[in-house]
Structure formats: structure tokens, C-alpha cells
Amino acid sequence: MSETLTRGQQLESFLERVPIVQTLGMRCDIKGDDMTAVLPFQDKLIGNFTIKALHGGAIGTFLEMTAMAQLFLVSDVERPARTINITVDYLRQGRAEDLFARARVIKLGRRMASVTAEAWQSARDKPVAALHGHFLLNRSGEPQS
């Protein structure tokens, strides 16, 4: 079946099945190997009520999923990669608005990949948070550790 689906369609059907993606309410706008992730604002994403700021954990989760999604899109692995490590820089307060993110695969190796991602709100050149992470590619039939 997967023979007839594009990589983007495979990614979309995968994301639909992942509970955390549904819990966040995140979606991905995919055009070929190009993708922008969208996190529509919801009250439950707030971390600090008094200043109505998005929770760092919600932003981090969104960026990590965006990085994994972009990696899936540009690689040929059957299953999503596993996170080795991530560093999230919190650059500005996430306001009570939609959040967008794009990721770039810096290096795609056979076993590992290095990915960066950036999230923004009203202006692309004013990032809210940035992620850099290493991921273990999940190649079927190879032992995981």
C-alpha cells in the first residue's frame, strides 16, 4: 500500500495516529518535501496564566515533533526516528496565538541525523524558540539500542 502513497501522505497518515499530536492539536502543511507545522492556539497550551504565555513543554514537544516529521519526510525510513537528544532555546515568550514551525535536516546519515527547527508567531524573523537535535534513524531489521 505504501508503494502508492507519497512520502507526505505517509507522514500525514502517521501523524493522524499519534495521540500526542492530536493532544497538541498540531497539523502539518506539506508540499512535497517542504513542510510547515502549525500549532493552533488553545487554552490548554498555556504555561503561565498571569502573562498568558505558552508552556515551554508544549513548545518543545511541538518543535520535537516538527523535527521528527521533517526528518521522516526527507528520509526513506519506514518508522519515525528516535530522539537521541534535543536542545531547545527559548528566545521569546510564546503569546496566546497560533505557533508555526519549520525544520531543516542538517545532516542525514545512515544511522543518525542532525536536525534544527524554529518556531515563530507573527514574524518569521522573530523566533519564539529554536531546537537542535540528534535522531536515530529507525531502520527495520536493525537492532535498536
Binding site: 499519534v18 500526542i20 493532544t23 504555561g47 515551554g56 513543554g57 511541538f62 520535537e64
Partner: protein
């Protein structure tokens, strides 16, 4: 004991009395369902119960790393609050998380955070996530938090 130490002790006591409140006022913490379980000077413990709506690996039924990010980020920030001599609101500058091994499906994840150094404007933290003990850790985290100007106490879930 000088006055500033006394006020930190008082704040830690308040945090202990309001462990549930500290996550109840944080919508995303309510969504993930983690709880604060113990507060000591500069250290905070919590638990993230297994929850199907947080699963990131459908085949293995394992909670997504993002839930660990949320848990350790929040506990680390609270560890700063339990460490600063004067009350200050803190904001995450950066957080690095290393995943040592996958979490087991269906099991609660314990989080532990400590604030190990404080300067005038930055607090540094370490944190761990595990099922049983730090000997078999699921993830470790290292963070830096900006120490902001004074804010109302209510923003940390501690009543005035």
C-alpha cells in the same frame, strides 16, 4: 538564621503546602497530568502518570519525549523557585534533554530536578527522569533559567 534564608524556608514550606496547586494553575501541566510530589531546598520531585493521550510511539505505546520535556522543564523551574533567596519568576533560557533509554509502556515516570548554581541573573539546573531510580535513567536534562524582576507570587501558584 538571617532574614533571606528564613524567607526561602517559608517559600519552600508554602510550595509543599501547595504541591497540587502548582500544577493545577498551569493548563498544559493539567493536560499532561503531572504532579509535584516533594520539595526540598533547591530540589523538586514529580511524577508523570502514564497516559494514552501522550503516546508518541504508537507501536510501542510509549509516552512521547515531549511529555518528559514538559515534566523536566517545569520541575527545573520550580527547583529554581525553591533555591532563590528572594522570590523571583524564572523563564527557561534553554533546556537540553538526552534520552538514555525508552520509557516502559504503562508505567509512571518520576522526575527529579535540582538547581545547582545561581548567579544574579541566571539559574542552572539538572534533572532526571526514571521509573525506579537514577541508576536506570530514562532521560537527563540540563537547563539555564533567566531570573526575572519581581512578579506577583500568584504566578508560581503560591498565594500571597
Amino acid at each position: 538564621m538571617d532574614e533571606s534564608i528564613a524567607s526561602l524556608d517559608k517559600r519552600i514550606e508554602l510550595m509543599r503546602q501547595h504541591m497540587d496547586g502548582m500544577t493545577q494553575i498551569v493548563p498544559w501541566a493539567r493536560e499532561t497530568g503531572f504532579k509535584v510530589t516533594r520539595v526540598e531546598r533547591g530540589q523538586v520531585w514529580g511524577v508523570q502518570p502514564f497516559a494514552e493521550h501522550l503516546v508518541g510511539d504508537v507501536d510501542a505505546q510509549v509516552i512521547h519525549g515531549g511529555a518528559i520535556t514538559t515534566l523536566l522543564d517545569n520541575l527545573s523551574g520550580m527547583a529554581c523557585a525553591a533555591s532563590l533567596e528572594e522570590f523571583r519568576f524564572v523563564a527557561t533560557l534553554d533546556l537540553r534533554i538526552d534520552y538514555m533509554r525508552p520509557a516502559d509502556s504503562g508505567r509512571d515516570i518520576i522526575g527529579e530536578a535540582e538547581c545547582y548554581h545561581v548567579t544574579k541573573s541566571v539559574a542552572f539546573t539538572r534533572a532526571w527522569a526514571y521509573h525506579e531510580s537514577r541508576d536506570k535513567v530514562i532521560a537527563t536534562a540540563q537547563g539555564a533559567f533567566a531570573i526575572n524582576k519581581p512578579r506577583p507570587k500568584a504566578s508560581l501558584g503560591v498565594p500571597e
